[in-house]
């Protein structure tokens, strides 16, 4: 059976490896090279050594953006997973029980479809809608709901809250997917386990912490990885939604946003590439940590 293994392996992997080699590895090598230059995107390329990195070290906006990246990387998974777990639990075993059989809340099938809708809506559309939700005058949905005597909240125009608004939108969009994901996971937990526990007098909360959570641990870890990726991707939303692209005053800037602006607005491709290099190492660190923590030894 071992005979003739390699032709298959080579045949199957040739295309993906070639694609990766050109579009990812070679492209990244170029980014590394450009990070040592002061190239503007046009004309001659001048080598400047580590100048870009020195500049970066002294750039206040860089550190600010880095903190924002960390904030999203930490809070997006925690908030989303916590909410999704609670609601997946409600959908599956949160309702009343009849004859000892646990069931979801009323209308749980309907919710499952609803929760998926935000996932189907493109980021561009989500951004447009939440632009209306968070509008800083009385025409905004939230400000419209508040009593007339309140002065309108600024939301995205408020330095202190802008990033939280972005987080809210990200959670809103992501949570439904994880409700569905966790629901499916909970569905595969045997009914008899819940029954047995319920007969032993376990409350909802005990059921959740002692049965659901441990049995779902693998799925939760997978969710964590994908939400981490989503946190790195928050740039697309920030780009469309925020005041002055990453503002006000850098309050929502993330590394990717800096890369984008330096490339396309300030014509500082060299500096943008240096930021790209930093982002590269950050993501790799995240990947390594995730692999270590989740111990996917099955691979």
């Amino acid at each position: 059976m071992r005979h003739g293994k390699y032709p298959f392996i080579i045949g199957f992997l040739a295309v993906p490896v070639a694609l990766y080699a050109t579009f990812v590895v070679a492209a990244y090598i170029q980014t590394f090279q450009l990070s040592m230059t002061s190239w503007s995107g046009f004309g001659a390329i001048k080598f400047v050594g580590a100048d870009n990195f020195v500049k970066l070290w002294n750039d206040e906006l860089f550190w600010k953006s880095l903190r924002h990246n960390g904030y999203l990387l930490l809070l997006l998974p925690i908030v989303t997973i916590a909410l999704a777990l609670v609601f997946a639990f409600l959908l599956n075993v949160g309702g009343g029980s009849k004859g000892g059989v646990t069931r979801g809340v009323w209308g749980s099938k309907f919710y499952r479809v609803i929760f998926f809708f935000p996932q189907l809506m493109a980021l561009a559309i989500v951004a447009v809608i939440f632009g209306r939700v968070f509008a800083s005058d009385k025409s905004g949905m939230l400000n419209g709901l508040f009593p007339d005597s309140w002065s309108p909240w600024l939301f995205l125009a408020d330095e202190r809250w802008a990033l939280t608004c972005i987080l809210v939108v990200l959670v809103w969009q992501a949570v439904g997917f994880y409700v569905v994901l966790f629901s499916a996971g909970m569905g595969s937990i045997g009914e008899e386990i819940y029954e047995a526990a319920a007969l032993d007098g376990a409350s909802r909360i005990t059921l959740f912490f002692k049965i659901t959570l441990p049995l779902l641990w693998n799925t939760i870890q997978t969710g964590w990885v994908y939400l981490g990726i989503a946190a790195f991707d928050a740039f697309a939303l920030i780009n469309i939604m925020t005041v002055d692209r990453g503002g006000p005053d850098g309050a929502t800037s993330v590394l990717a946003m800096m890369i984008y602006r330096n490339t396309f607005e300030y014509s500082q491709v060299g500096y943008a590439s240096a930021l790209g290099v930093v982002l590269f190492f950050l993501t790799l660190t995240f990947a390594a940590l995730t692999l270590r923590v989740t111990r996917r030894d099955a691979v």
């Binding site: 003739g4 298959f8 392996i9 045949g11 199957f12 992997l13 295309v15 993906p16 694609l19 990766y20 579009f23 990812v24 492209a27 170029q30 980014t31 450009l34 995107g41 609601f87 409600l90 949160g94 309702g95 009343g96 029980s97 809340v105 009323w106 209308g107 919710y111 609803i114 929760f115 998926f116 809708f117 935000p118 189907l120 809506m121 493109a122 561009a124 559309i125 447009v128 809608i129 209306r132 809103w172 569905v180 994901l181 629901s183 499916a184 595969s188 909802r204 005990t206 799925t219 969710g223 991707d233 740039f235 890369i259 491709v269 590439s273 993501t283 790799l284 990947a287 692999l291 099955a298």
Partner: protein, 292 residues
């Protein structure tokens, strides 16, 4: 907490708790659905009503004008067709390439296998934004070298990039599915005289069905909704609906009605696709995820 009433055992469930659970469910459902409803509400309103400061929860004058004006935009239909072509091509290519790659990783042990898996995971995390400039330069050079149109006025370059974007998830998920198929099945088939290729074609491929569905949905959503790469690489006539939507928003200020109508039309393919495979999606997701 166990209590007995009328001979039916209701365990660990207080009535108040159930009420609370249902209430929370409804509230959460409302928060999730409200923005979606607002899009629909705005899209069917005449402009004067959209702009009014007292919001109305249903259109007083139901109108389709917004849809007409969105569809009538010069680049709307071409953008939609571009998007469909790019999405279909990149999802199909990613499925074929990804399935074969997953097969190699899941079914064979070989030198460098772990490295490949690591690279796949890393690529999924790498922000593509940092690669935009090199990719642009690369495709430009390739265009000059080969004479094949790739970027600017061609959909080919963007499609290639999308394939690379979709591959990690595809390989990763399908690998999970394939690992879940017992090797004994392969062996039994080979004892019965199947070649290795026939095993892949007749046994593993059909059994990976739900995984293929799950990954194609993911791929479809990703490719259809992408706008940054295509906006950088191509001229306005060769972009997709999503890029058109954003361009439209910034160019024309706040024409909310047509914008929302455009958003609805843009979402239709994804929603239809989702509804078609809705039943398979949860199974597909978990099977891939849990064994991942």
């Amino acid at each position: 907490m166990a209590k007995h009433d009328e001979g039916v055992i209701t365990v660990g469930r207080s009535r108040a708790g159930t009420f609370f659970a249902n209430g929370t469910g409804i509230l959460f459902g409302l928060v999730m659905i409200f923005p979606v409803y607002w899009v629909l509400n705005t899209a069917f309103k005449p402009d004067s009503e959209v702009r009014s400061f007292t919001p109305t929860f249903f259109p007083n004058d139901f109108t389709l004008d917004n849809f007409k004006s969105a569809l009538g935009e010069e680049l709307f239909i071409p953008s939609m067709i571009n998007g469909l072509i790019i999405t279909a091509m990149s999802v199909a290519a990613a499925l074929v390439v990804g399935f074969l790659g997953a097969l190699a990783i899941a079914r064979f042990s070989f030198y460098g296998r772990k490295a490949i898996i690591m690279v796949i995971l890393a690529v999924q995390l790498v922000p593509f934004l940092a690669l935009l400039i090199p990719l642009f330069l690369m495709l430009q050079q390739a265009e000059e070298g080969t004479g094949i149109n790739l970027i600017g006025d061609s959909l080919l370059g963007v499609t290639l990039i999308y394939v690379v974007l979709l591959l990690p998830y595809t390989v990763w998920t399908l690998r999970g599915f394939i690992s879940g198929i017992p090797r004994e099945l392969d062996e039994a088939a080979m004892i019965d005289g199947c070649t290795r290729f026939q095993v892949f074609w007749r046994i593993i491929l059909p059994l990976t069905g739900p995984g293929l569905v799950a990954t194609s949905v993911y791929g479809f959503i990703q490719a259809w909704n992408e706008f940054i790469i295509i906006n950088t690489m191509n001229d306005p006539k060769h972009q997709n609906l999503m890029a058109w939507l954003l361009y439209n928003q910034t160019e024309r200020g706040t024409a909310w009605g047509p914008l929302m109508a455009g958003a609805i039309i843009t979402s239709i393919p994804v929603v239809v696709f989702f509804l078609l495979i809705q039943r398979n999606i949860a199974t597909g997701l978990t099977a891939g995820a849990v064994k991942g």
